[in-house]
């Protein structure tokens, strides 16, 4: 098992109190697996991916455990985490288009970055060329400044940089949101290819756009208000979603590829609860069409069928 | 880059180690300030407004020196001068005087100096030739033949004209003479203009000076460094540090500092500390209502508390003026007519001021606390002095409140100097303080010529209040034409002028600005003082001949 996340709690420290952005989340990722992570904005999915690479204030580690290839990650220790960053865990950030120093030529920046991590640029330069080709970038971009590339090119360059050291876990955070449909597809394909070529062992693909997950994810994890509410293989979750939120999410899906960023989910009334001192019980209960008394207690994420976990009293109740 | 810099630095340092700096020996050097307000750029005695202080006095010399304390003309380049008849003045030029280039100074040079103004009417003293006919030279004697001699004006000129060497000036173009810098001045005086930088002028003693041999005078400082200082507090700091020996700045706080720093020397040990140099007048614009009314002007004179100004603003470093504005020097006071002053003078007396106003019909009709004109229209006056002239600024604040106290609505306002000058020249002001022509001299003519200067389109040289009284103009002219030693006639004329002045009060004399002088006794001693030596301690431009030069000959290095 490549990655195992157990009871991970990541809170934000604010002046008014703690925002429980990732609350008691547990799941695994297998080798060679692409896990899609989906949910509305503010559900904690980005917090999750960021917490694995850059956990610093106001983000606060509150408990839990993340294992990578059998090693426990020292999440709370910023310094120790440096051994894992980039080499073991890498990130393609949401802001990939602005992720490169504007006043350094890309090649030079990579060389300096690698040197600082103790990797010789010359040794890796061949591999770099190969990978650039893989994402349809000409070698000449190494001699260019970021602003000389288009947004898409920059993002692809970041993809190459992020995976250059063959990390065990790659986190791709909302990387397709700003792209048009055809580019989205191309980028998704490239990531799959990366995995297929073993450039990355496992991949977490974070998005609010479930439709893109159909194309690449092996399994999908649905997050709601800081909780993992359902995990299942992609096919299963699309065909028979169990959690009422997942159901609404999937049924409200427009045709594949249509952007609905920032818009409220059409079919679900209300909005997610604030995560500053959230109410007890199931966090979806206020919006849930099938709520009942039991929902005032927090539902556990339980395996309802093989490879299918859900956190809903209705489903757990069915089985139990 | 860094290396290059280091190499260069080393080269410079090594090189400079071989050069010895010329450092002035402290005990031979006098540091002076107060007469130089910008970088030295001009040593042309024909342009006294631009010439560096010392150009006239240290380098170029006059025919006579003048001692205002003793009211005495001291023979200098001329050994004597006298009227042989009413229209002829004879000067004997001193023999054995040399220009610093070795050429002898002769009567020819003196004649040339006068003739220059005839050749070039743009020379500043050319008006002499309106009443001077010709100069006749016989050996070392010069005979001045006058068309109509203006005795007082002539006597004033005797110590105010710098004599220039003919052999060096006659070949110069008109422009070089009238506007040139005259950078290496050759004079006959006690000092050479040695060198200068933008913040200093350095004079070095002329050891071949004629007066050493003939008058046994040796200026003590081998070198005078005249420094450019922009602000009073720097001057004060330098005096306290012992870096400035002679200061002609007005420095507030001197009385206080004298108590703690015993090295600060002033003329008087106690108040007023300073000699009086000129009289500050409150000019009133007699072309504007209500200042056109002599009664009103007299009321103003009674209302002003000059005593208060003296203590508050000047910390008793000045004296309150007498009602005539005459400086306490013999040349002027000999004409001071006690009876006239007794009869028509004024003192600070607000009650009297109010009474005068009321009797003349200036009453508060509308009840705003201020008087109106007899016809009922309001009075609102402003008193101006240039902005930044802080002692005067404080003074007119006091005057304004004095005037308000007797019911005259007046405000103190501070235009910039340019505007102040324009208002004065063009007669736009209401009231203004001025002292530009009231400084000590050997004749009251300079004083009255400034106070009652004849009216023109613009009043650039005095009588800013445009006081128009043919009688007083005539008296002044008559005084000027009265032989210098005819005291009786002169006194009669003066008494009449005094009476008119006090009755009409076209301007109010307030206080005497001091001959600001502080000496630091850390290096030099025997500065002029009330206990002697008696020299007028002035180093201002164009006035060294009044005592500043002689002060140098009496200084002694401190033991």
């Amino acid at each position: 098992m490549a990655v195992s996340v157990k009871n991970l709690k990541i809170y934000y420290q604010t002046l008014r109190g703690q925002v429980q952005a990732v609350d008691n989340v547990s799941f695994d990722i297998k080798d060679h697996e692409i896990l899609g992570m989906a949910g509305e904005s503010g559900c904690g999915k980005s917090t999750f991916s960021n917490s694995l690479v850059l956990l610093k204030p106001p983000m606060k580690f509150m408990g839990g455990r993340v294992e990578l290839d059998g090693e426990s990650l020292p999440l709370a220790d910023f310094r120790k985490m440096n051994e894992f960053r980039y080499k073991k865990i890498s990130l393609i950030p949401q802001y990939a288009m602005n992720a490169l120093n504007p006043t350094r030529k890309i090649g030079r920046m990579i060389a300096e970055l690698l040197a600082s991590r103790g990797v010789s640029f010359s040794k890796i330069s061949r591999e770099l060329d190969r990978r650039l080709k893989l994402v349809n970038l000409n070698r000449s971009v190494m001699k260019m400044y970021p602003f000389e590339l288009s947004g898409g090119m920059r993002q692809r360059a970041v993809m190459v940089i992020a995976t250059l050291l063959d990390p065990s876990l790659l986190l791709a955070d909302e990387i397709t949101s700003a792209l048009d449909v055809s580019t989205q597809k191309a980028v998704a394909k490239m990531l799959v290819q990366f995995r297929d070529m073993d450039l990355v062992k496992s991949l977490v693909f974070v998005t609010h756009d479930i439709s893109i997950l159909y194309q690449i994810a092996d399994r999908v994890l649905i997050m709601y208000a800081g909780k993992a509410v359902e995990i299942a293989p992609t096919k299963k979750i699309t065909k028979e979603p169990l959690h009422p939120y997942t159901r609404l999410l999937i049924s409200s899906l427009p045709d594949v590829g249509v952007k609905y960023s920032e818009r409220r989910l059409a079919g679900i009334k209300g909005r997610p609860p604030g995560l500053l001192n959230p109410f007890p019980g199931c966090r979806f209960k206020e919006r849930c069409p099938v709520r009942f008394e039991k929902c005032d207690k927090e539902p556990p994420l339980a395996e309802v069928s093989e490879n299918h976990q859900v956190a809903c009293w209705r489903e757990v109740g069915n089985n139990g | 880059m860094k290396r290059l810099f280091l190499v260069m630095l080393t080269v410079v340092l090594v090189f400079s180690a071989t050069v010895m700096a010329e450092t002035f020996t402290r005990g031979e050097t006098l540091y002076a300030g107060g007469g130089l307000w910008g970088p030295p750029t001009n040593w042309n005695p024909i342009t006294p407004w631009s010439a560096v202080t010392g150009t006239f006095g240290l380098v170029y010399e006059p025919l006579f020196m003048y001692d205002p304390l003793e009211d005495e003309l001291i023979p200098w380049l001329a050994t004597s001068g006298e009227w042989v008849d009413l229209n002829t003045f004879v000067l004997e030029i001193r023999e054995g005087v040399k220009w610093t280039d070795g050429t002898p100074l002769t009567a020819e040079d003196v004649k040339f100096t006068f003739d220059l103004a005839k050749t070039h009417p743009e020379t500043y003293y050319s008006s002499l030739w309106d009443w001077l006919d010709r100069i006749e030279k016989e050996g070392n004697t010069l005979k001045f033949h006058f068309v109509e001699p203006l005795y007082h004006e002539w006597h004033n000129n005797l110590y105010n004209l710098p004599i220039i060497p003919k052999h060096l000036w006659e070949g110069r173009t008109k422009e070089a003479i009238l506007t040139g810098a005259n950078e290496r001045p050759v004079g006959s005086g006690a000092y050479f203009a040695h060198s200068y930088a933008s913040d200093r002028m350095i004079y070095v003693r002329n050891d071949d000076w004629w007066a050493t041999e003939q008058l046994d005078l040796v200026p003590a400082p081998r070198r005078i460094v005249y420094v450019v200082i922009f602000s009073n507090n720097v001057a004060l700091g330098m005096i306290l540090q012992g870096e400035l020996d002679v200061s002609n700045f007005f420095l507030p706080g001197v009385p206080t500092l004298k108590r703690t720093y015993e090295d600060i020397h002033t003329w008087f040990d106690d108040a007023p500390y300073m000699l009086s140099d000129n009289t500050a007048f409150l000019y009133m614009n007699t072309t504007k209502k209500p200042m056109d009314d002599p009664v009103f002007r007299r009321a103003v004179a009674f209302a002003i508390n000059s005593e208060d100004i003296k203590t508050r603003v000047f910390e008793d470093q000045v004296l309150v003026s007498n009602p005539l504005g005459y400086l306490p020097i013999d040349a002027w006071m000999q004409y001071y007519d006690e009876d006239v002053v007794e009869a028509y003078g004024f003192t600070y007396d607000p009650a009297e001021a109010k009474k005068i106003l009321a009797e003349a019909g200036y009453r508060d009709i509308n009840g705003d606390g201020f008087v109106q004109l007899p016809d009922g229209s309001p009075i609102r006056l402003s008193i101006i002095v240039p902005f930044g002239w802080t002692d005067w600024m404080e003074s007119i604040r006091i005057i304004a409140s004095n005037l308000r106290a007797v019911g005259i609505n007046a405000d103190a306002t501070f235009p910039d100097f340019g505007r102040y000058q324009d208002e004065l020249f063009d007669g736009e002001f209401h009231m203004a303080i001025n002292n530009f022509g009231s400084n000590a001299s050997n004749t009251l003519w300079t004083f009255y010529d400034w106070l009652f200067y004849e009216l023109g389109e613009r009043q650039t040289s005095g009588n800013f209040g445009r006081y128009d009284n043919p009688e007083i103009f005539a008296l002044l002219d008559q005084f000027n034409r009265t032989p210098f030693d005819d005291h009786e006639t002169s006194a009669q004329i003066m008494s009449k002028m005094q009476e008119i002045f006090l009755k009409e009060m076209p301007a109010v004399p307030l206080w005497y600005n001091g001959m600001w002088f502080q000496g630091s006794t850390q290096v030099w001693t025997d500065y002029p003082s009330e206990h002697g030596p008696y020299h007028y301690p002035c180093t201002w431009g164009g006035r060294w001949q009044e005592g500043g030069l002689l002060m140098l000959t009496d200084l002694k290095p401190r033991q």
Binding site: L100 | F24, S50
Partner: protein, 330 residues
């Protein structure tokens, strides 16, 4: 590239023309007559004063109609002649400036450069180091917020008069004549120090605050975050941030150096230090048209050169500008 600079050059020429013309006009709008102000320093009889004034007006060309004076101004300017100073009559303006400007440069260039370098280093160092920042930032603020002359006078009084460590007036001792010797150089430096220090202190804070803020912005920028995510050491991230934060600071430096000519009036007044600033102030007081024009010509040229240098530097150090050449350069 050529087109870019050609266009810039044209704009600069136009600016130069307009600015110089305005500066020609401004002093002439001031009240008062410069010649009268000059000869008013000596009390003259009015007849004489009138004649002298007339003569000087003619010599200075002030008796001619304004348009004629304006044309004369440009023609002599092209000949490199800035006219004769009135206040420092009869010194040519070029010479006045040449004599004074070394003092300005010798004082201001080190003061500006040192404060810039030290300020940037300190600012960058303190940024995002919470403790240090908390202590140092208020100090910078107080430095920049203190009225300069007041600070300078206090410095002069404490170090000069009270402690007597440093002299308080002049560019070098009044007791020494300039020469290239060690004692003179030391003497010069001793006089130079307090004016330098006062300028250094007031400017230091501004640079340090600017750098601190810029660094914080850069450290919070996406690229810094990404570097951090990839485990890049703080040193490298700070290096990048520093480099990028330097760009606005370079602009600031160039602008500061541009107005150097007029920059030190306060210092010159407080320490009686020679230089153009005080002369300019006096020139304004005495309505010395020619000296005012001359000084401002230098200021205009200085500012324009500074702007031009900024343009060039940006082309060199900021690839974004190089790329956008010919288009906007924001």
């Amino acid at each position: 590239m050529g087109r870019y600079f050609r266009r810039k050059l044209l704009i600069y020429l136009l600016t130069f023309f307009a600015a110089v013309s305005i500066n020609w006009m401004i002093p002439r709008l001031m009240p008062g007559d410069p010649i009268r102000a000059l000869i008013g320093r000596a009390a003259l009889r009015a007849e004489a004063a009138d004649k002298v004034a007339e003569y000087f007006s003619r010599i200075y060309g002030l008796d001619q109609p304004a348009w004629r004076q304006y044309v004369n101004f440009w023609t002599s300017l092209f000949k490199g002649d800035l006219g004769i100073s009135i206040y420092l009559s009869p010194k040519p303006v070029t010479q006045v400036i040449r004599d004074s400007i070394p003092f300005d440069l010798g004082l201001l260039i080190p003061a500006i450069l040192c404060s810039w370098i030290v300020g940037n280093k300190f600012g960058a160092f303190a940024a995002r180091r919470k403790r240090l920042d908390g202590i140092v930032l208020p100090i910078w603020y107080v430095f920049t917020a203190t009225p300069y002359m007041w600070l300078a006078i206090l410095l002069a009084y404490v170090f000069g008069v009270l402690l007597g460590i440093f002299p308080i007036a002049g560019a070098y001792s009044f007791a020494i004549s300039p020469s290239l010797s060690i004692s003179f150089i030391l003497n010069y430096l001793k006089h130079w120090f307090l004016p330098f220090l006062s300028l250094f202190i007031v400017q230091l804070g501004g640079w340090a605050i600017g750098m601190r803020n810029m660094i914080i912005y850069e450290l919070e920028a996406d690229y810094s975050r990404y570097m951090e995510s990839l485990g890049a050491p703080r040193k490298l991230i700070r290096r990048y941030a520093f480099r990028n934060a330097m760009l606005p600071q370079i602009t600031g430096l160039a602008l500061q150096l541009g107005v150097i000519v007029a920059g030190a009036v306060g210092t010159q007044v407080v320490f009686s230090y020679p230089g153009i600033g005080y002369l300019l102030l006096q020139a304004v007081m005495y309505k010395d048209y020619f000296l005012i024009q001359g000084c401002f010509l230098f200021i205009v040229i200085g500012v324009l050169i500074a702007n031009f240098v900024i343009d060039v530097i940006y082309v060199i150090v900021d690839p974004r500008v190089r790329h956008g050449m010919g288009g906007e350069t924001a």
